[in-house]
């Protein structure tokens, strides 16, 4: 039962005993690939990883122009700007951009989340100079053409209509609104029909202009490329951006919401109930993150975690249930999510509460901690197979101000966490007595089941 144990003779020399799991030879060494960091005279930082096994490269420009900068009456602005960036520049219209990158077999995308905006381009390595120029052009000279803005607004409005019929989205919105109340994270990252309808090209251009600086921005690169040559070409490529100080981040520490509170989005015909249950978590660069990752892995981060084994494998209430501390620059939520059979929604919620309490009441078994630790350590290389996996790690370093050796040092930080650390963190970072609960489903069936957990408010679908 201990596949991690070392041994000295190969299995094939022994008679086969299927009752015992084979134990493994020593693990092969793995180190996070070297990260090259260079900064241009203008203040743009390059983070690059060279990998030559496939003839591909992926480049991503990232800055902090995320949804946390959305003005109170303009939720969705950053996200709307992000989707407009690659829809035309002063030099090339949207059709020309798509024709030229796709004609080379490559792809270009732009978008924003809460923390940042990004423009990415990937292609065969021989097209790297083209991709670099295109990304720089998109970041430096977006046109925000009125015709393109109208087109994207109408696409976005229709997309919001689609989301208004999506039970998982509606449960998540009810949860976030109740949890964050007046804080920017309470709003819809992708906007609402009202805010998007009002958005004009001038709003977009003004928003982006404030962030059009090399300082605080990053170019992330991975693949079959030469980091030094790439660095040498950055100054000219990004000459269209200023060297100004970027805008300071808004305050991102929300007050704790006074749960328990239950918010039901009434979908009378829904075939299931979407549950989102939680409270405030921690910012991504929190010092206890390794402990919290292990805590969550025991609780709900993987298939064999307590919450999934309980709700799915013991009770059959759901196809899957999971928990996570959501990564944000500010205080992201801690969240348990599951789509459950409507008839057992109350019982499913009770099991979630029970699992949160159990981790507070008694320390986890040391075997649970060891299993979670070896899972997180072992699965790490798996997440680095693709260029997208590598660039996503670089993006975490960039957006969350993590040191270049963060991932090299990460295994050792995980190894130091003890059972007591996890138990202590559970008492401090889980709050089963003041849960915020968002549910989307048939209110008439759900309300009686949920009332024992706290005050219930029923809402119509909204973003």
């Amino acid at each position: 039962m201990s596949p991690g144990a070392a041994r000295s003779t190969p299995t094939t020399a022994e008679p086969l005993d299927r009752r015992r799991a084979p134990v493994a030879f020593d693990a092969k060494a793995f180190r996070f690939p070297a990260v090259t960091r260079r900064t241009t005279g203008g203040g743009l930082t390059l983070l690059a990883i060279q990998r030559t096994d496939t003839p591909l490269t992926l480049l991503r420009f990232v800055n902090r122009a995320g949804g946390h900068f959305d003005p109170p009456a303009s939720s969705g602005l950053a996200s709307f700007v992000g989707s407009l960036l690659d829809e035309g520049t002063r030099q090339r219209n949207a059709v020309a951009i798509a024709d030229q990158i796709e004609g080379r077999g490559g792809y270009l995308s732009s978008g924003s989340d809460w923390d940042s905006s990004a423009v990415s381009a990937g292609a065969l390595s021989k097209h790297l100079p083209f991709c670099l120029d295109l990304i720089a052009e998109v970041a430096s000279y977006p046109a925000f053409d009125p015709v393109e803005t109208d087109r994207m607004r109408s696409l976005r409005l229709a997309e919001l209509q689609r989301l208004l019929a999506d039970p998982g989205t509606l449960a998540g919105r009810a949860f976030a609104r109740a949890l964050y109340r007046d804080h920017v994270y309470a709003r819809s990252l992708v906007g609402t029909p009202e805010t998007i309808a009002r958005m004009e090209r001038e709003d977009c251009a003004k928003f982006w202009e404030r962030h059009q600086t090399q300082r605080g921005a990053f170019l992330l690169a991975a693949g079959d490329l030469d980091p030094e040559a790439l660095h040498a070409s950055l100054g000219e490529a990004f000459a269209g951006l200023t060297s100004d100080e970027p805008p300071a981040l808004p305050p991102l520490d929300p007050p704790e919401a006074p749960g328990p509170e239950i918010h039901v989005v009434d979908l009378p015909q829904a075939a299931q109930a979407e549950l989102r249950v939680g409270h405030l978590g921690v910012p991504r660069n929190h010092p206890e993150r390794p402990t919290l990752l292990l805590l969550n892995s025991i609780l709900g981060g993987k298939f064999t975690s307590r919450i999934n084994l309980n709700l799915r494998e013991r009770h059959g209430y759901t196809y899957g249930a999971s928990s996570r501390f959501v990564d944000r620059v500010g205080t992201g939520p801690f969240l348990v999510a599951a789509a459950v059979d409507t008839a057992v929604a109350g019982r499913a919620l009770q099991e979630i509460v029970t699992e949160l309490r159990r981790l507070q009441d008694e320390p986890p078994a040391s075997v649970e901690l060891e299993d979670s630790r070896s899972y997180l350590l072992g699965v790490f290389p798996y997440t680095l197979q693709t260029l997208d996996g590598l660039v996503s790690r670089l993006e975490e370093l960039a957006v969350h101000d993590l040191p270049d050796d963060y991932y090299a040092a990460f295994p050792e930080r995980l190894r130091q966490v003890t059972v007591d650390d996890v138990h202590s963190a559970a008492t401090r970072y889980l709050a089963p007595d003041r849960l915020i609960i968002g549910v989307a489903g048939p209110a008439k069936d759900l309300v009686p089941q949920l009332e024992p957990f706290g005050p219930v408010v029923v809402h119509a679908p909204s973003l």
Binding site: L56, E102, R162, A270, F303, Y375, G378, Y382
Partner: protein, 419 residues
Amino acid sequence: MDAITRHVLGNGLRLVMHRRAELPLVAINLWYHVGSKNERPGRTGFAHLFEHMLFQGSEHVGVNDHFRYVQQVGGVANGSTWFDRTNYYETLPAHQLELGLWLEADRMGFLLPAMTAEKLETQRAVVMNERRQRVDNQPYGRAFERVHELLYPEGHPYRWPVIGYMEDIAAATLDDVRAFFSTYYRPNNCVLTLVGDFDEARARDLVERYFGGLPSGEPPPIPSAGLPPPRLETSAETMEDRVRLPRAYLAWCVPPFGDLRWYAASLLSAVLTGGKASRLHRDLVYERELAQSVACSVFPTEECATFGVMATGRPDGSPEHLRDEVLRTLQQVAESGIREDEYDRALNGILTGHYHELESLDHLADSISAATTFFDEPERALHEHDVYSAVTPAHVREVAAEYLAARGSTYVAVIPEGG
């Protein structure tokens, strides 16, 4: 890059190995040549429910211990069921290869002693919730199965959905589990693919050790014999659903995966909707703003393949209008073919996509299992873009003319409730 090597064990298990040593990982991938097409009406969804039962332990592996063993060494594991096949896979730290082989061999050889009515009941409830989550509570969720019900005639095994109908999932018994296992879960009905950082001689020894003693069975029945042909006439249906945007689904049947005409159809789908510069996207989404999105797909299935187009309209749009525009575009391709720049763009995109597939060991292992199961040609997975290169613009025009434009379409519209 190392070559592909293959061996057939005495019991018929086909082993395929491909070394990729960039990362200390090994992908283990098994394809059992059984899927929803091997089911019968009244027991639809059984192949998939059965896949769930394969994670419920076997004689020497406790309930839920499959995932526990895999995750406690830092591996990932899962399985999936489709029309023609069921796959099971895990990617492990390279030195844990033997653990994965032990787990897979135990459920191939020693499943039935661990099966109980309680486990079946729980997984039945899990699968019913999976169906609710993915189909019944999903906007547009029922449309796709309706398309197949209309496209394929009574008696054709692609007619019913892989996840099955709710009442059929309810009807499955433990006896069905035993019979299905004995018929289909045999070494001679399976391909085992290993991709990653391992020593081939040792891996082969280990596979022989764990799988070599498992008994082979009768060759399973082949459901493709005497299949009724897919429908050629037009059919149309409108469904109301809890959606805000209208959507049009169109489908046809094209030659099976592996046929040159399948690759021509796949290239056509890239010309039509692959990227923002593609013909339908540019026309319907960008220039005329009739659609919110448009996408094509060609299923890699072995009896024949569903060529599907899905166009989501604007809030006040008409799905019939979208249908007519898609049909008009297909007619254009059938008459005038595709432009050289369209052809080049599609091929270049496919080449980039091919290299992306090579990046990930589990995708590559799955493609190798597919190429071995369907064609007995594992190398094909490494060279699929060469097959695409053999497709000419004329082939694309021919497939559009013969299989799409000249035949009736299966059309399903989804409109907002009460709309």
